[in-house]
């Protein structure tokens, strides 16, 4: 069982989540009981690992290896676009949020462990910026925001994730 967070803590977390989501054009699952369960899972993971990794995925406990599944995960936006909800169904599209349809299980988009290990090795050997560019271009893995500057921003100005969620784009 997840380490128990108080009801008050869960309420507070959900309120913050909803405000931030709506401000950015995202929506939280309106099924209160389901969402409360997911948030308890997120808080349990924060207690265990120090970050809110996806409640529906097995975290390794190593932040670098789990970066892509820290909520909001790298797969949220394509899953909402294709399936109307993210993998754990914490985030849903406007139609589900309005109660016009229900969130259904989403197939796993995260690559299997062996493929992730390979991608990690490839990233480690990425070269310098292509000729002609004055700055490297960084891409937020979560929302796709692009910026050309020496380092990615501390916090994504669009979706609020941390600097380590950016990847070198060009």
């Amino acid at each position: 069982m997840p380490d128990a967070a108080s009801d008050e803590e869960v309420d507070r977390f959900i309120q913050g989540l909803v405000e931030e989501a709506e401000a950015g054009g995202y929506h939280i699952n309106p099924d209160e009981e389901f969402t409360r369960g997911l948030v308890r899972g997120l808080l349990a993971n924060r207690g265990r690992y120090g970050y809110i990794s996806c409640p529906c995925r097995l975290a390794s406990g190593n932040r670098e290896d789990d970066l892509d599944i820290i909520c909001p995960c790298d797969y949220r936006d394509p899953d909402i676009a294709e399936y109307a909800a993210c993998y754990c169904a914490l985030y849903v599209n406007a139609e589900v949020e309005a109660g016009l349809s229900a969130a259904a299980p989403v197939p796993e988009r995260r690559p299997p462990p062996a493929e992730r290990r390979r991608a990690k090795e490839e990233r480690a050997t990425a070269g310098p910026a292509p000729g002609g560019l004055n700055y490297p271009v960084w891409r937020c893995r979560v929302c796709g925001y692009l910026c050309a500057r020496n380092e990615p921003p501390e916090t994504c100005p669009i979706c609020r994730v941390s600097r380590d969620r950016f990847e070198r784009f060009m």
């Binding site: 369960g37 997911l38 899972g41 997120l42 349990a44 409640p55 299980p105 796993e108």
Partner: protein
């Protein structure tokens, strides 16, 4: 709480649910199986540690290389990935 937990019910063969204690779809799958009144075992893989966790992770990967949850294995023969009500119902003959 670690290791395999047992839920009594009607014997429909060997039914094992690999789940995460934090996951909503895993909870729904467990609730669904309980509602079908079939006998099954479940394990919360996120609560396991050390060698036991490695062993169970390998077990799940054998059935489902994506290592996603819930993974339900029926009679050591069929794996159902995700909360698929109809598929589960058919696999356990309920």
């Amino acid at each position: 709480m670690t290791g395999m937990q047992h839920v009594p019910g009607e014997d429909r063969g060997k039914v094992i649910l690999y789940a995460l204690s934090t996951c909503g779809w895993c909870a729904d799958t467990k609730k669904f199986l309980t509602g079908l009144r079939v006998e099954f075992s479940y394990v919360y893989v996120d609560l396991l540690t050390g060698a036991e966790r490695d062993r169970v992770v390998r077990e799940v990967e054998r059935w489902n290389p994506r290592l996603s949850f819930p993974t339900l294995v029926v009679n050591d023969a069929k794996a159902i990935v995700g909360f698929q009500e109809q598929e589960i119902r058919e696999a356990v003959g309920a």
